[in-house]
Point group: C2
Chain length 589, copies 2
């Protein structure tokens, strides 16, 4: 039983709160997309997800994908091909892509927020449009006009699908080790090597599959500065089969309907994307959008798990309320919703999920500004904040999403552990999010090692500036005193932690590795505290009995009282340094 209903009202509220009308709709490209039009678009997308994709979710999990070794084919579960065709007919693949390539040309903010609904309804399915969209972004940014001409229309329409081929058996996190070779041959290259963990590397949803492949030219320097990016289609422009074959699919704990493929390149023909040896740049264009998406997976499945747990709790009667005033007369037991610990778990899930969704909304708006603002300075500052917040949403979103689903299962007891409810699938499907597209530790290293020092601390100053602006404009508002006080104190502590860590990092790189995760957690908690303060600001002038005002204030209050204090623990862990971690005999581990 899956009671999921898309959180369209909250999405609309968050678009408003994070300045959609002021910052996105006012962009030259998006004048037609006022909030009502935008939400109509999201509504149509949402309806398709609920009507078509949600009913396939559990079926796809149980059936899984099938690999046929003789033909190297992968068959999607029953119903997925028809669902994909409908997805394409509705134009959802190209919702946020340029009209010149056949897309709808809607703001990215809409497709980003809407993707939560897609993932909640069917995470396995969502990975195919997700990767295809990422490939479109990479080709738009880096490919030659000829390659754009050849591939973009078919990808934007969904006639063809995309993949990202990075990992090899001996290298995942450390791409500098990769050995797939690309030998020049006329206008193209011949690629040979083995790629693993390739999501939707092979399937029967589309006629053709277009792979973005990282490989090394014969004369390339070693390490990550010798990596180039190639586009390698399954079928060549003349219709012949290219030498890239699926060698098998992995048996995984979750996302059973998403094929995870070994891909063998056997002299496959590919074309260079971007400059030689600068492949990490195009890869990161695709990767950053994928990282945002992974963060959204935690929001999506956390929300879906919350709704299942709430439905269960509303129905399940067990024990009397501890407070006699809350006991329902004439019943032998009350719904478990009255029990404080059940409420605590539900509030924990919901306050972090709506906090994370707010963060997604903030990033989404910045994403459109970064790409389309006519003002360079505005674009640059949006780019900075997106760069800073991407590891936060990827890492904290995936971690919290997994924990939230587990907590939803706890609300449901044994029922949640069975296939009668979707929560056990969510837990299995979500766990990989902490690992793929750069493990959460890689995100933390990106935050501490790259984003903090960038531009002499410019990014983190811009972030602190946003918080200060809110604290200043609400300093005298008694209705927001507890948020101003809590956010102010934690922002101050974070800036002290940042200063101390930045200093320690210049002296000893190992410190960064030891404490980066704790620092990211602290940073994420302060970020969500800011996002919650923004949501409080957005409802504070509504009438006191307004349901949204009451709901948002209650969730914000819970977040500040119960969730945010963890920032102090993480700060303490950062301050504790590295010795008790690094100075340990490896042989004793």
């Amino acid at each position: 039983m899956n009671p999921y209903r898309p959180p369209l009202d909250d999405i609309r509220f968050l678009l408003q709160t994070f300045g959609y009308s002021e910052q996105v709709q006012t962009l030259p490209l998006f004048g037609d997309f006022d909030l009502d039009t935008a939400m109509d678009l999201v509504q149509g997308y949402s309806d398709y997800c609920v009507d078509v994709l949600l009913p396939l979710n559990s079926k796809g999990d149980v059936q899984g994908v099938r690999y046929l070794p003789e033909t190297h084919q992968v068959l999607a579960p029953d119903g997925f091909k028809a669902a994909w065709d409908g997805w394409c007919e509705n134009g959802f693949v190209g919702m946020a892509h340029a009209a010149e390539h056949g897309g709808v040309g809607a703001p990215f903010s809409l497709s980003i927020l809407a993707s939560e609904i897609l993932i909640a309804c069917n995470k396995s399915f969502s990975m195919c449009p997700g990767l295809t969209g990422g490939l479109v972004e990479a080709l738009e940014a880096h490919a030659s006009d000829e390659l754009k001409e050849r591939y973009l229309h078919k990808l934007v329409s969904g006639e063809w699908a995309g993949t990202m081929c990075l990992t090899e058996p001996h290298c995942g996190t450390d791409l500098g080790l990769l050995t797939t070779r690309a030998e020049p041959e006329g206008d193209h290259y011949r690629l040979s090597g083995t790629k693993i963990w390739i999501t939707f590397g092979e399937h029967d949803l589309t006629e053709n599959i277009i792979h973005l492949v990282l490989a090394r030219l014969p004369d390339a320097p070693p390490g990550s500065r010798g990596i180039s990016t190639f586009v390698v289609p399954k079928f060549l422009p003349d219709g012949s089969r290219n030498g890239i074959f699926c060698g098998g699919t992995d048996h995984k704990m979750g996302i059973h309907a998403s094929p995870t493929c070994v891909m063998n390149l056997e002299g496959a023909v590919g074309w260079l994307v971007g400059e030689e040896n600068r492949g990490m740049v195009s890869m990161f264009t695709m990767m950053n959008s994928a990282r945002l998406n992974v963060g959204i997976e935690g929001v999506a499945l956390g929300e879906a798990a919350y709704q299942a747990a709430r439905a269960f709790a509303q129905d399940r009667r067990q024990s009397r309320a501890l407070n006699p005033d809350r006991q329902e007369p004439g019943q032998a037991a009350d719904t478990i919703l009255v029990h404080p610990d059940v409420r605590r778990m539900l509030l924990h899930i919901r306050s972090t999920t709506e906090g994370l969704r707010g963060l997604v909304a903030w990033i989404s708006v910045l994403y459109d500004v970064m790409h389309h603002s006519p003002d360079e300075a505005t674009r640059n500052s949006a780019t900075d904040l997106v760069a800073l917040l991407t590891p936060i949403i990827k890492s904290y979103g995936s971690e919290r999403g997994f924990q939230n689903i587990s907590e939803a299962m706890q609300v449901m007891g044994g029922a949640g552990f069975t296939r009668d409810w979707p929560v056990e699938q969510f837990l299995r499907d979500e766990r990989i999010a902490m690992i793929y597209e750069g493990t959460n530790h890689i995100q933390a290293l990106d935050l501490v090692g790259r984003k903090l020092p960038m531009g002499g601390g410019r990014l983190v100053k811009a972030f602190a500036g946003e918080i200060q602006a809110l604290l200043s404009r609400r300093a005298e508002d008694p209705r927001m005193a507890e948020y101003v006080q809590g956010l102010g104190a934690e922002a101050k502590r974070l800036s002290e932690t940042t200063r101390a860590l930045s200093q320690a990092a210049t002296q000893d790189a190992e410190v960064v590795g030891a404490v980066a995760n704790a620092y990211l957690s602290q940073f994420a908690l302060v970020t969500l505290a800011y996002v919650w303060a923004r949501q409080v600001e957005a409802v504070i002038d509504l009438p006191e009995d307004d349901a949204r005002r009451r709901s948002k204030l209650q969730l914000a209050r819970f977040f500040y009282a119960w969730v945010l204090p963890e920032a102090g623990l993480q700060a303490r862990r950062v301050a504790a340094g590295k010795d008790f971690i690094t100075e340990i005999d490896t042989g004793l581990l």
Copy 2:
């Protein structure tokens, strides 16, 4: 690939540390079981687990149990029946049961600590001997001589197996709601009703299955004071089939080889165990031993996951060490074991696992003392500590076990998410431990609502006394200064939290519900800090280069620096009270 090796050395060390030789071997019953003899017994048990049960673990997960609706039969996965027969032939079912019933008569402490190995090798399988042993305990304590005579020998030999039938569709946590009826008929009763979540309720491992069933007599008072316990065999003494049938098995996220059954009682013949309407007493005899076992599940699978992650990390090369001194010459990348975050994760898993195993050892020794000490006061104080520590090991063991397995998966990246390694199965198998045998919140309520006030705080005073004794005897030992200081500070904070909570609880029961979980976490962290201090004491006089001394000191140091500080966060949550949890509109959830 499952590289598991039983931690026999650590088990031996912990038996020594927690006083096996002084407190168990000196008991009149156990004079023959010196530590060497004891460990020989555990070694034989361990060998069988590794040789026979471990190879069946993944197979059982993939194949699962099969239910045959026509005959109400449940078939175990291939190989399980032969494995069970071997288990029985070796006398492992009755290892700790009385010789007069055909058991080996070894101390419980040995079978409790050894059960970690059984669970690590095959958690699904382990549930059958676990429940059978629990039933033996309940019958020994509460059944009439006639019932003992009829059932104990066959259960202790493993010829027959046991179950515990508590839950019904409308009642799990709140057993007071149960409606299964028992009508008197001659020397026996006729039971009718439906039980769910019955582990090994039906299977083909044994000839007969003996159910301990909670039911209500016709004139029973309502609620949990009207529950009686009955023994209901699948086959009656005359060989005829009794009216208790399996109506189906659940499809679960994990423990696929352990059948979870719906059991329909259709006028089944049963015999009363213990007194009428006092069924909760015999149920709790079985339940308390089951709760300890559930805590051990977290130790077992956490250890097995740790070993898999370590094996992976020792082999996997990715990136150079951040510290140039740790870079292995002539390699393109170092093993990931050198990376601080990988070490941090491994240390986190191992320090909590060895802390929890120490807690199990402590409880195990107390268990034998509680049952067999000739001195009543000694028995009583052991009983007190076991009662206090049981919710801690069940709750924190299951929570930490689950998180530890997830962290082991994080060490392994994508590989850990696949069926190529056992960790994804461990994660699925372990998750239920937070739910069954009383959810972790029920444990927390038991701790705060029952164990704290018991005897005017006698239990918690005894616990604090153990800590104080250690602090006093090591007050002047400079080698233990950091542990004495850390434990002293956290014990003091815990006693303040306890005092404030006990006071608040007398005024408002809802506060208990709101903060009990946070309190249990704080209590558990202080408990493990004490257990670690005991382990440090036990190695501190060894030569400085002794491997165990170095290993234990390093783990203890990590625990104190990185894990224990969470106690402060949990104390803050307890102090925050209930308002932001309970005073929220239910309709807005």
